[in-house]
Every structure is written in C-alpha cells, then in structure tokens.
C-alpha cells in the first residue's frame, strides 16, 4: 500500500492527519495489516483483505463486526473506527481501520534459559489465562454477537456445530481431493465427545503470543479475530499455540477454571487438539487457492497451503487408527507454534 494514497484516503476520513511512518505488520499472512503512525504517537491500524482473498475462509467483514461489537465491551481490543468495502488505496480490496495500540505481538527473551525468564513465563501464562477468562465470561448475547455469529444450540452441541460448519467450508475451498482428510472427518464425527461442553462463549480462535498486542508482558489488545466464533471455550485453549507450555499446564488450567467457574473436560480438550489439525488444514489450504491462480504469490502461501497441509494430512492419516487420547497426544508432539521459534520472533 502506498503511503501517499493511504494518507490522502485517511485525510478524507479523519481530517488533517499526516503519516509520519507506516509499516506492514509481520507476518500478517492471513490478512494484510498496516501500522500507521501520525505525529504525536497517535496512529491507526489498517487491516485489508489480501490480494486473492484471506488465508482463513471466513468473510472479511465478519472480523470487522467482531471488532465493532468488542469495542463496546470491557474486553481489551483496539477501538474500531470504520469499515470500507471498496477503498481507493487498496484498489478496491475491503479494509477496516482501528486505533493503534502500542505494543508487540512477540515477547523477546521469554524462552531464555534463566530463572528470571522462567518466572516471567509463569506471569505471562497467568496473564493470558486471566484475559481468556475475561473473554469467555463475556455475555456475548447481550453484546450483540448473536446477530452475526452462528451459535450452537447448547454447549453439548458446540463441537458438532463446529464440525458441520467447517466440513461444509472444507468442501467449498479445498484445492484438490484429499481422501485422507475425508476419512479424518469421519473419525472426528465418530469421536465427538459425549459429555457436555464447558459453556457457550465468544471464542477467539488462534490466540496467545504472535496474535495479541502485549506491553510489559500484559495483553493490552486481543488482535486478529478472523476465527472468532461462539463455541466451547476449551477450543481457545487448544488453539493457544504453546501458551500451555509456558508453565505447568495443569496449574494454568486450574487457574483459569478458578476464575471462570468452568470445568474443562479432558475429553473435549483432547478432541479439540485433533480438531485443530483439520481446521488448520482447511484454512491453510484455502489460502493456496490464490497462489495457484497467481493472485497472491507470497511464498508462505505455498509453504503453508501446500507444505504444512501435507504434513498435517500425514498426521491425520496416522490418527485414523488411534483412539482419542492417543490421537491428541500424537498431534501435540507435532504441533509447533512458529511464533515461539526465535528465527521467526527474533529472539
């Protein structure tokens, strides 16, 4: 996005503003995100649909609706400003604008091999649990989320609802036939937990380090809501991308349960671990479509949409003969969060 075009556009919306600097957020593969600073530390974040569409096969506008609704709640999130379905600076690709919140998506030094870093990891894990608890206890009906997020009938129905929703998406977006994944969907249906879910909550989807805005080891803004849904909060823990490895896993979960009053069932947790593999295959492979059409030639579209999808297809192939507990333990060994890799996070 060119700075002069964006500045002209923002002036039309915000009055006399001048861009001092702007940078594209890294990695930002799912949706294009620009951090824009004006004079005096004020600024905005411009989130735009990437060329060829986003990585995650969910309507772009829905994420804006989540931000807009959250801006009226106590959940830490950047103030939503406006949505534009056909803006000039992106040649018509939709965008929305929110206030800039100072902070970082990474916590450099968190994985150092020192006692201080270990104590810090515990504090970060507790902070994350507290903020997830805040999100999951939000009255989402009162906050208006039911108007645009499909909701399951009950906590018991949450997993089946998610399975059916994403199974339908998969068959619309996959780039080729994946018989192993089809069999995995059968396995997932057969292994749906019989027990009830913990609750029906507003869930974020991918969360934790690499997703949220952190400052002084506190989450000051939840970011990237493209996978937001109404579902069992256990799902967010399964998608917490290494946050449960920061400290004692059971202690973290007990802490969260003590705040929320929820009981996270091990069977449901295990299910979500495996489910996450399928959902990731679906989202990443959807992103490969634009690469194949030449509409988005960013190389990560191929490493993620083809390479990682193949890896996960192989994992699902092995899961087919396992019971739920064994399958969950198996996939956890292979599921690594790239944001915890110093080569990606920078330290």
């Amino acid at each position: 996005m060119r700075q002069d075009r964006l500045e002209s556009y923002l002036r039309g919306r915000m009055g006399d503003v001048r861009i001092e600097r702007m940078t594209r957020a890294f990695p930002g593969f799912s949706r294009e995100t620009w951090l824009v600073w004006f004079a005096g530390d004020e600024g905005v974040v411009v989130r735009a649909e990437p060329p060829g569409g986003g990585l995650v096969p969910v309507p772009f506008r829905r994420e804006w609706q989540v931000y807009e609704a959250l801006s009226r709640t106590r959940i830490p999130v950047a103030q939503a400003l406006w949505y534009d379905a056909a803006p000039e600076p992106t040649d018509g690709r939709p965008l929305f604008v929110r206030q800039l919140v100072e902070g970082s998506t990474y916590l450099p030094g968190l994985h150092d091999d020192t006692a201080a870093a270990a104590a810090r990891r515990r504090r970060v894990a507790e902070e994350h649990a507290e903020k997830l608890a805040m999100l999951h206890t939000l009255d989402w009906r009162e906050a208006g989320f039911g108007a645009f997020l499909p909701a399951p009938d009950s906590p018991l129905d949450a997993l089946r609802h998610e399975l059916k929703t994403w199974e339908a998406i998969w068959h619309q977006v996959k780039t080729e036939a994946f018989p192993v994944v089809s069999e995995a969907l059968g396995w997932l249906e057969a292994h749906l937990p019989k027990a009830g879910g913990a609750a029906l909550s507003l869930c974020k989807g991918n969360n934790g380090i690499g997703e949220e805005i952190w400052r002084d080891d506190r989450i000051v803004a939840f970011s990237d809501w493209e996978l937001a849904s109404i579902g069992d909060p256990v799902g967010d823990w399964a998608l917490s991308q290494g946050m449960l490895e920061l400290w004692d896993r059971q202690e973290i979960l007990r802490y969260y349960e003590s705040i929320t009053g929820f009981t996270l069932l091990p069977e449901t947790f295990a299910y979500y671990r495996v489910w996450d593999i399928f959902k990731t295959v679906c989202a990443l492979n959807a992103g490969l479509r634009a690469f194949l059409k030449g509409e988005n030639t960013v190389l990560a579209r191929a490493t993620l949409g083809f390479g990682k999808v193949k890896v996960f297809e192989h994992l699902l192939g092995q899961v087919l003969t396992m019971d739920l507990e064994a399958a969950a333990a198996f996939v956890v060994k292979w599921r690594k969060n790239p944001y915890h890799d110093p080569r990606v996070s920078g330290g």
Binding site: A177, S182, T303, V311, H314
Partner: protein, 156 residues
C-alpha cells in the same frame, strides 16, 4: 558431466544458509528467504523422486480400484466403475501422470465419502474402506520422503 538438478538446488540452499540468510535482518525478507529455502528443500527431494512416485502410485491406485470393482461389482462402486470404463491405460494420451493422479484421488475420495460411516458399515463397505485405507497408507509412505523433513521447519 553436468550437475544434477538436485545438486544445483542443494547448492542454492547452501548459499542461502551460509551467505544470504545470516546477513538478512529485515523481517519480511528473512521470512521470504525461509519460505524459499523450505520450498527448495522440498524441490530437491521432489525432482528425483516424483516421477517414480507418481508412476507407482497411479499403478497402485488403478490396481486397487480394479480389485474393488471386481470384488463387489461395478454397480456397487459407480464412481470407480465410471473411471475404469473411461480407460485404464497407464498414461492415456493427453493426460500427464500428475493429472491422472489427481483424477484418481478424486475417484477414491468420492468412493470413500459415499460409504457409510466407519462405525456403521458392514460387509462390502468395510472391505472397500479397508482396501482404500491400505492404499492411502502406501501413498502416504511413498510421498513421505518429499514432505518430511522439508516442511517441518518454520513455514515463514
């Protein structure tokens, strides 16, 4: 003597590792390099093995589909039957091994999705699923060398 395609790709990877990646500090450029390196690692494995893999896989898939049709009758597996009736040559004119492989995966996928759920199946359906699952296991084993460990590192 000419260097093989694999040797050339591996030389590019080495130059990335030793010369380029250590000095690139821009996050986006470094990420793009990691992705490029990952894809080159995959290509180095694929360039030698893909043709044989596709040939073996196409022959295996065809044999399994033929065996299923013979075992349960063509009318019980209409998608497989239609594929077999369209021609069973190893490489029909105008169809690359890649395209043929993709077409066969569609046939196998459609057949599996047409079966009753694994928990509710009996008799023929169980037999068909078992034969196709065995084939899929062999397929995954065939392509494993091209996927692991090339795609296990950071994808971006």
């Amino acid at each position: 003597m000419q260097p093989s395609a694999r040797a050339l790709i591996e030389a590019i990877i080495r130059s990335f590792d030793e010369v380029v990646i250590p000095v690139v500090t821009d996050k986006v450029a470094a990420s793009s390099l990691r992705s490029a390196r990952t894809l080159l690692d995959h290509l180095a494995r694929r360039v030698d093995g893909e043709a044989d893999m596709l040939r073996a896989d196409n022959a295996d898939a065809l044999a399994v589909c033929s065996a299923i049709a013979a075992r349960v009758g063509h009318q019980a597996v209409p998608v497989i039957a239609a594929f077999l009736e369209a021609g069973t040559d190893e490489s029909p004119q105008g169809m690359t091994p890649e395209a043929r492989n993709e077409a066969m995966q569609k046939v196998i996928d459609a057949t599996l999705r047409g079966l009753p759920p694994a928990g509710a199946q009996t008799g023929e359906a169980a037999e068909i699923r078992a034969m196709l699952r065995d084939y899929l296991d062999r397929r995954l084993a065939r392509e494993r060398e091209m996927i692991f460990p090339a795609f296990l590192g950071p994808p971006f």
